[in-house]
Symmetry: D3
Subunit: 324 residues, 6 copies
């Protein structure tokens, strides 16, 4: 007998928010990749952290806090779920997660599979080391532009025996010709360092480094304009490390630095980036064990939603296809 049972893998966004299996933005779980335009991906990897751990639990808790997410953006009045097909495609499956080089390859492999299926990825980390294998899978036709929110430039070199860690992804992304440093902007940089190598590398390679003082003095509108100028109409990757936010907005992170920007400022900047040619994005470094009352995961879920809105617009009525 077949009953009219509704599978829990197809969440109902109008149901009470505390009900149902938790998926990213309450999107359905993908059964295949065939009918997915934007894939929401969890990358529960934190083997690249150098301080407080826990980002491995980030995807789980962002899914949880996603219950608070709804569909129609209050500023653009657009509903991304009407513009394109969005699904939770699950977490990167790992089989050698304890070996950092293997984990990097497994991440790259999963995103290569998404790209082959023509799925644009928006990811939830995981530590920032995951952005390198993601970029390796996406930037196969030459370096892309990048908009990077963070307290740190993440362009440092080796640490504690490993080339790969959460402070180095964008140094190797430059070296491997995955991102164009001259089309890269880093926003929110701050905090003391033991050496200046990372700051120096970013600047010497031509990245536009916006230290926090510049942002607080000039305001979000000026930074938005600068970001648009830097990336132009190139394919662009957006990466958002939640430690760019002040620690009160993101206590659940591994390397907090006081004096950051607020979620209101983050939203103002993200909302200012409409119309760019996004090929993917991520929000990383959410560490639930250090979070309080879900604040960081809720911020992460909302940033995820705003990135999805930016990318979904490319699928709008007037747009019949996207070519990243």
């Amino acid at each position: 007998m077949t009953t009219e049972f509704k599978s829990p893998s197809k969440p109902n966004r109008y149901a009470p928010r505390f009900t149902q299996v938790a998926t990213f933005l309450r999107a359905p779980l993908a059964e295949t990749l065939d009918d997915v335009d934007i894939g929401l991906v969890g990358v529960p990897y934190d083997g690249g952290l150098t301080n407080r751990p826990g980002a491995r639990h980030g995807p789980r808790e962002v899914r949880n806090e996603s219950s608070l997410m709804r569909m129609i953006n209050h500023t653009s009045r657009l509903n991304p779920f009407e513009l394109c097909r969005i699904a939770d495609v699950g977490d990167v499956p790992f089989s050698e997660i304890l070996i950092i080089e293997s984990a990097m390859k497994e991440i790259q492999s999963f995103f290569t599979q998404l790209k082959a299926a023509n799925v644009l990825p928006v990811s939830v980390g995981g530590d920032h080391s995951i952005s390198l294998p993601i970029l390796r899978s996406l930037a196969t036709s030459g370096p892309v532009a990048m908009i990077h929110f963070d307290a740190h430039t993440d362009t440092w070199a080796d640490f504690q025996g490993s080339k790969f860690h959460h402070g180095s992804p964008f140094r190797w992304a430059v070296e491997e010709n995955l991102i164009d440093p001259k089309k890269t902007i880093q926003i929110g940089i701050r905090g003391a360092q033991n050496i200046t190598d990372g700051w120096d590398y970013s600047i010497e390679k031509g990245m536009r480094v916006v230290f926090i003082e510049e942002l607080l003095e000039c305001g979000t509108q000026a930074i938005v304009e600068e970001a648009r100028r830097v990336v132009g109409d190139s394919p662009v990757y957006l990466t958002f490390d939640v430690d760019g936010l002040d620690p009160v907005y993101a206590p659940g992170t591994g390397t907090p630095e006081i004096g950051g920007f607020s979620t209101a400022q983050a939203l103002a900047m993200l909302k200012g980036l409409r119309g760019l040619n996004f090929i993917g994005g991520d929000v990383v470094e959410i560490s639930p064990p250090f979070d309080v009352s879900g604040l960081t995961s809720l911020a992460g879920a909302t940033i995820l939603y705003e990135i999805v809105c930016l990318m979904a617009e490319g699928f709008g009525p007037a747009t019949t296809q996207h070519t990243p």
Copy 2:
């Protein structure tokens, strides 16, 4: 034998703050309503919530954090407790709290009793559904003006089988002619929605809806002026949903939305409303189980104090009576 015992129902505001039975703003507990000008009321009802529960514990924790409250306002230098008689009149007594329609009636009945005794109420919720029965008891001579701080317009329609819930009070307040939408301003609105019905209703009825972007761009002074313009010298009700604040200032709430205003901005706006003809007020949606370190309850207690200051001025030396 009668000793010189001082009853614990008469707290001493100069005692160490962590001592004594907790009452709102360390006010005495009312023995009768005869000698009360402003009554501080707890409404521990959260049956109208649609997401995270716990607002039932709001009055209890605001009383606790009230220990940190003192008397003389640092900006106005007024002491409301010298201007009029202020008492904690206890919580609304419920006998059918599990039935939402009955609970609504029990709330209304208690506030009608206060009004009959000529007591101006300032309430601590509880969820936002409580404002409807309060308004039903107060607005008996025609619709009143309203100043409303919130992330949501709370003018949505039925939800999950009930007309009454924390997202609908002001729709029914308009429909029942309790508030005049053209003399109503809603401040801090934001966050995605699944349908636009609430936003549309507020605007179509003529409410002045201040989305958060307008507040952050124009500043609190401009919004204060707009609020004063909207309500004029009409009798006005002030309702403050703590989710209007950014979640870092009010993590203990049911439907947090990132990117809100700060407590500093809230205080600037409240302090700008001196001299209006307030007939009552409330602070709602404080959910202690989701709070951290008492932050939300402390914010609630301070907002309660500022509302009381606004209302007590109507009892000042030059003012011999108030006519709501």
Copy 3:
């Protein structure tokens, strides 16, 4: 193009535990009810609570802590997932959750659907009021036996205007002839009461009431034997209110009573019930907002697993069918 993508609705139990979408016991999400023997059900309803809320978030957090669950029972060495087909069938879908009588009907309706599909339900609450509609759906062929772990008899009468609440389900279950009080045992009862009505009702109707002192004095083995004697070989429902546990083992609950039994004692009792004719079970009253470090949800997930083990044995090699 069809890739070899593995849907996130089919969790891999060998994957790192912090990865993947959270389902009960890491079971797959049911697409239909056709191939399910035991259905794991969430009932996120807490409108029947009389004190601290939050049980609505129970299913979500038990799914989360389920990541720690594995398959082979260390005492029986049985793997329930090999004995029968077990799936997470999602949460009861509600459309009138704010009205307690309607919610009761919606719960009953979902379980009736499961029964029609020949699925044995094991549920995660939610408050204890949910057991009544579950029993209404299951006990359609006459009253069943019941083993009930709890600090309270839950046989009280009306409260605050409602017949239905978390303190009354088993009074109405007796009155409606759903359970046979003479084949019912209540284990762990304790804590002061304002009236003795509930205690009296249970005893007068013939339930075997095991106050905590008896359990602590006689030991778990004696109680197991008594329980087996009481229920005999009747079809039996098992209901586990986590407030039967001492509050240190289950701080996340609505009406904690100190001096309860431990998880070790709970496991000893549950493991002693092998071979009974279970027709369903539930674990209820887990309130994550009051929990610490996931302790209560982890206990709930493990109790869920043990109940599933008890029921799966009925599907073992020697057993070709079950007839509840």
Copy 4:
């Protein structure tokens, strides 16, 4: 006009538990001492602590958790509130709380006032130094017997410049002839010490010192019998330091020592002391800032209730007066 308003200083024990102003055991607040048999007193003093602070907040939080308390004892079936008149008489009023010697005098003075009014006190601390001034007010007719639950003997000498601190009250109580060491039993002693002076003092003076190993080996029944033997029918004071409990039952305390007794064992011992000639009691060292989910305050409230039950029996039908 006088309305039929019910003052919040008279809580209704049948009201929903999360409502109303918080008082000890939901007892009414005393207006005078004239009609009080047992006075529940808060002593929010923690100036005698040597390690983690916070016991000053103990009375506040025990009042909060008292909402969970009800009236009829499940083992004795007695309702203490029917046996005698019980009221919350508030906190000791302090005017020189920063000076430890002055604070001791202020505590003594308040309890002397209670004694003059023929009110038997049951107190909630505060740190253990408060028991000394309480005993000074009570033991005016010669030394009393004492039953003392604790991890520490609290018979140490001076510490950090002060004779008075939470480790010394019972040394001075012996020296001042307030307690009879030969009629004193200390139960639950454990934990390493830097010197053995306190242990030695207790034993040399003839106290019956029950180290935790003896309790765990012999069981609560044996200890109850020993306690009854030691105190005989002398007037007896009962003092319960929550650090006697294992830290999992009382994490919110200043000097936790692992390996203690459980709340179930504590209740078994307390319930075994019925019929003794109690002249007062206290529960101390509850430090809410270190508590989790209210566990320690809930334990404290329940212990308070059990002590009240023990004392109320002296006012029972067969008993027409008590003479401490």
Copy 5:
């Protein structure tokens, strides 16, 4: 045999941050005072608190969060550890900590020892009462200037029997001619008071009192200029009470007042004070038991670092000596 063992009292700043014994700013522990220019001192005293306790645990937790600190300032690009010799000189040793007057003398004595050894102190409290004995040890050649961040003026008189408490240090510092009120600026003042005595005292004595409204309206740059004007080139002491920060940035404190300044604003002000003639500084009122996720201690550690940077510049290449 002597191995090449590296003592844990010499932390390695390049080691993973979660490793090693915790010292202030990961500085080495002083073996003597001979080779120390700036001494980082813990003053774990909180006997002067009037409300929530816990500041005694401040030094411990600031040492813990100091693991996150690094060396090179991102705005000045200076490394204070290269400019002078900085060491953790431990906590003030107390032998009469329970007697407030004795404790004040013990603090003074330790700082006098530091001054004799020509060590500039930067301290971590403890409550604000500690600044008085520190100033007594430092201002031996006449009154000094002071820059004071706080929500309260701390110029109140006696409280609860004691002249010394955390609300009075700067009244006595003026009376004892330790600070020059005309060269003193107090920044961030706010919150209701029961009497106006402290506000009045500060203003009458000529202190520059910057209420929070002035700071928020004029901006940090204007306040920096005003501070520089007030103190001129006099020897200046910097005292930072974390309750000057908004409670969301410093929840772990004893007397939080909503509506304060942010850490970003605090850093902007501190960084604006370069080149002044600092003779010492402190950061006080960090209460870890009320903190969440280490936010307050992390803010305290970073403020400590910035004060150290300000003071280390006096030891720079062009500067061969300092004369406080």
Copy 6:
């Protein structure tokens, strides 16, 4: 000038507990290894975890909670600090911590250095993978006996690409001939598993595996006797995984399993092992980010103390040397 300054690297055990730099058991920090009999070592490594992270923060927090530790054991009345020279020798210094094989070697190298200096190590982890390199450094003269408290046998094989992880150390210790399985006892084993390989390995190799049911049924005394029988007078290593404790006693751990033993039972077992020939010990798997109110770290610190007591007795008056 040389002052009589007392270095903070030499903590004073009689000082108030919340003061001073935190070291293990308040022992002095070693300047060299020359004068150390027992070295307390931190091993802040958690790269071998398979689930919840955070054990890297274990040494830090055990040092913090060590402030509560004192010297004289209440059962043996011995003071280990008088029997031998005990020092905190710091944390293992890592330079390649991100590469699991390198980290294993770095741990082994540090312990080899200790052994060369004739220092007996007692370690605080870190995850359980650290016991393998410790054993490699200690068991250089043939396999040793082992007493192992844990919920898991930790004799599983490879996981996620690595031979080394926290579930495998004792399989390789057997294979490498470091421990003699026939002289090994594992106590507290429980919890479901996905495969039985680890259980099977332990049993097949001849280890004495005490599942939790046996411990709870037979009592701690019987297990102590069995442990003494198994290890005889061989050199023995003691390893204590805090997840052997029930999760309420050790919530801060990576793979909690409900139904474990209590701290009282743990202490009873440890205290029963006096007089054995211990060559080292460890307490592992303390994960502070998941801890509540320091319970797990306090348990860890006390277990550390008890292990030190066991080992210090070998240095007692009658014993002139130890030969592991």
